[in-house]
Symmetry: C3
Subunit: 424 residues, 3 copies
């Protein structure tokens, strides 16, 4: 690392960041046991990929059993960046010294986790150590938000089940219960979605969010066709693929329109293929597809100029699409580096492409996507290192930016842009 | 920058280059006002992307108004490589000292531009400073080429409207007027296209050129079907998509065949999606699509072995296709780095891929695609820096080339290959 | 090159490697003449791509004629990495000193090749110099394996013609002759394939292998439809595309099932478009397509969890698909860098992506794909240099691995993983 890169990194680590997407549960944000850390799907899916049977990691087995089985296998994945997150968290948050976790030393870390978990407001200390100011949650639409610690957490309305599973009676029941109105028509759906958005914004929500399959194509909804599909569902009938698509496009539009009315961004996470590997471990069933492209969303971006779409894609094949659409459409804001692209080699390429040709005020640098707050520190630090390197090599060393300008740009990406775009 | 890289860059800057693709207007090649520079679509589209209303930049507003509105917004895009082109041109061509353009200093630069514009043969001085020997134009098919300054400019027959808009009566009228013959049959079209090519070559043209959508698939034309489509158009009827495709494939073939007869290359610029964002600023409506692939052109490359196709693609997803087709087909020559790929991170990847596996005599390094000659210097310098870095790191440092061989290779890319391939 | 990188490279060069895919002919593994080296399709196709007529390199011309015509053209491709293989082989294996091959010096190298070829067990010495322990062959299904020198060579059952050309009477005849049973039904095909696999494993085979077009989609075979297609073929009828597909999917399944029964991996080499350029030189007709994706194979990976699929892809557009499928599916093992991706810039990207997010025990680093053993040394050395650089920069310098761990990881990729996975 050059001196310049080291100086930039030190400054960048000092920027108090906003994490606009996570799956932290508000009621249990920090790890209580080592199993809470090792149970993260990256570790279970990678050791399974390396040969450990999936059923050895089923959720019904005891924590000691899980750890005892996984730890000897960790050696097979100790090259991965995901493994490095675990060890950096262990070292920085718990004071664990060894650089590898082994059958001989895991008990010590397990004890450290249990003890640390007893500290008052442990999650706040963990986030402070990661230098995060706010962390977005991803809440079920009928979640009670009254207990959320809004000093550090920002609710976010997850809309996957609304958009793709409204034909499910249970989803409709939950929606009716939450909003107090029957879901008997498309207009009722629009009203219910507005009701949800009202509730969420009243509780400080920063946005709505959804993950989307690679072939989804939003468009101007055919409200009559969606209404018929809904009516079929209300009569307990199965929906054809055609019906399901009409209904999904309609609900997606209703959510987008609610974002417009409540002046909230819509986080689009595009490209996940669900359940490609059903025999895998929990959280390790989904994959990526290179098919499709962002042009599927052009009509949406045109119809809703008032809505900020913060967009992540899942396939490397889509990365150039995103950088170019963000270059042209004012309401397309590239956001972070999602899941299968959340690896330094891909982050580096994508970050260079964005920083070189998209207005700096539009870039949301990073989010953690974590399930426990302990992963904020190593994930954000991974990103910070890539950011420091890219700013040093491609911008400061080439004379495009001064050091001061580079730090200001980093501040936009990590803090000022998400604060402004999400209104936090 | 290493000493080696610096030495190579110095030598590379000294190579007098050929710019085989630009949109410079022969009658007004250099900027007369600062608005001629700031009005470049990169600046208007990027500040619009960063939030400035598109109608604030409509062509009917005054130049002072345009500048006054844009300058305060430039800060939002000062991270981009496009912004760096502006500042490098300001510094190197006008002697403007500040490293950012602001509300407080733009009047000074505006004055400098106006004064410099009054110099005799200003555009020649600007091109000499950029160390370019020749710049290709992109001429409308019915343009009068008699006044072109052929000491520095090379005409090029743009064929987009011929291929894709021959059903438009105005296009046929212009074609009939230019060639003196009625466009009443496919044979008449072939004859007219040959007439254009004759006229252009008599006026020193280097090639024909066309930009193509990602789904275009040339093939052996169905001349009967094309004739029927043309007949429909002559009767004033609208063409079906099917008819339009037959007509386009036919005219494309007529142009290719004329290239063959007149021994001229055909510049194919593949992958632009037109008018994806119609509400954008002028020149900022078009985007890219990752769909399709170069295999669509395999039949064309096979049928015209005598024609050199100098090919650019617009999507990163197509970059490997191009490098491999150029590796195998003698008549496929990769050309420059077009538009949404004209960003250092992409240039670097594409250049490394081409230099490592395509014969060096086939590579056309770069073209400016500029609308005013002032952008030749910063754009070519951007490329020269990437070229110096790639030659230093991947070729000289690894022992694959001596320094002298690296400079010779750069000379091929920047000068000797375009001279030989285009016959200038 | 940094000191660290140099130290790592020295250690990596010292790892005795396994080459799991080549086209070396067991009966003539080393070059007898310079034409055996220059006739490698990379050189003939590249000089043809650079302008030399293909018929100047037809196999019926004399070797002296071939060399005499090719050598003066080599200058046009001396930038390519393929050219560097030739010169590194000439230098390291024959003691040839010049760094370019010219009309003035090729006779000297030609003489050196002829003399070296006379050494006893020359191919063993060449492989020892390349520091390879074993080299896989790619054998026709009816090849006699009794004479293979199993001290260095490992047979591998090539299944392309079985899967895609079983409708050809000659293929069925060869299969019947080899297995001693008539190919009259799908069950007979399964039995014959098992017979082949039995014979191959008895002769030390490491795996089956196949190259696949980008649109191939394996699936659960419709055995009745495949049977009808086979019956049509037996009656001498041409097969429809539909029939051919059913038959191919069926035979592919039979091969996969035989791999399962004999506990052998199946090498899938996905993405080649055959005969895109039929007028090219021998071996230079095929190309790549960015279409399709690895999701086409998800069903296969699910149905055969016991079979290791060692997978290579041919298009850069598929690289992320492969890294992610290998991250999730236990039986998907990324293997080497194939053909149009076997270029340092692509190897580097792909290697970084794999090493950062796929368990290290699953990665097969490299194979040569060579036709003569002389190319093992320069090809493996090219890979070793990229590997040393990636381990140095992305892993040791960043603190993710110690130097010792980096060397251990390299040992897995080059030696221990292929030994374990292929059981050699």
């Amino acid at each position: 690392m050059s001196d310049l890169e080291a100086r930039l990194l030190e400054k960048i680590v000092g920027i108090r960041a906003i994490d606009c997407h996570s799956h932290v549960p508000a009621e249990a944000p920090h790890a209580k046991t080592l199993a809470d850390l090792l149970g993260y799907h990256y570790y279970t899916e990678l050791v399974h990929s390396a040969g450990m049977p999936a059923d050895a990691m089923h959720s019904h087995i005891s924590e000691a059993d899980l750890i005892g089985k996984m730890v000897p296998r960790l050696e097979t994945i100790d090259n991965t960046v995901q493994y490095s997150w675990l060890m950096e968290a262990a070292r920085e948050l718990f004071g664990f010294r060894p650089d590898r976790l082994t059958a001989g030393n895991w008990a010590e870390l397990a004890q450290m986790v249990v003890e640390a978990a007893r500290q008052e407001d442990r999650y706040r200390a963990v986030l402070a150590k990661a230098n995060l100011e706010k962390v977005f949650l991803t809440n079920r639409f009928d979640e009670d938000l009254s207990g959320v610690d809004r000093a550090v957490f920002v609710p976010c309305l997850r809309t996957d089940d609304l958009v793709f599973e409204l034909a499910d009676p249970d989803v409709r029941r939950r929606l009716a219960e939450k909003t107090g109105s029957e879901i008997g028509s498309t207009e009722a759906v629009r009203e219910a979605v507005r009701g949800l958005m009202r509730y969420f914004t009243q509780h400080g929500a920063g946005s709505a969010a959804i993950s989307l399959p690679p072939d989804f194509t939003p468009g101007r909804p055919d409200e009559a066709a969606a209404g018929k599909a809904l009516a079929r569902a209300l009569r307990g009938k199965d929906l054809s693929e055609h019906d399901s698509r009409h209904l999904a496009v309609f609900v997606f539009d209703a959510v987008t329109d609610a974002c417009r009315q409540f002046h909230k961004p819509f986080q689009l996470m595009i490209g996940v293929l669900r359940n490609v590997y059903p025999a895998g471990v929990e959280g390790g069933h989904d994959l990526v597809s290179k098919s499709g492209g962002l042009v599927q969303y052009a009509d949406l971006f045109r119809r809703y100029p008032e809505v900020d779409f913060t967009v992540s894609v899942l396939s490397l094949a889509w990365v150039h699409d995103l950088a170019t659409f963000a270059w042209i459409f004012p309401n397309v804001k590239p956001s972070g580096h999602w899941w299968y692209l959340n690896v330094p080699v891909h982050i580096e390429y994508e970050l260079r492409a964005r920083l070189m040709a998209v207005p700096k005020v539009k870039l949301i640098g990073y989010y953690s996507d974590m399930y426990k707050v302990e992963f904020a520190l190593p994930k954000f630090n991974m990103y910070r290192r890539v950011l420091a390197r890219v700013l040093a090599r491609d911008f400061v060393e080439t004379g495009l930016m001064s050091e001061q300008q580079a730090v200001e740009t980093a501040t936009l990406l990590l803090r000022d842009n998400p604060k402004r775009i999400f209104g936090v």
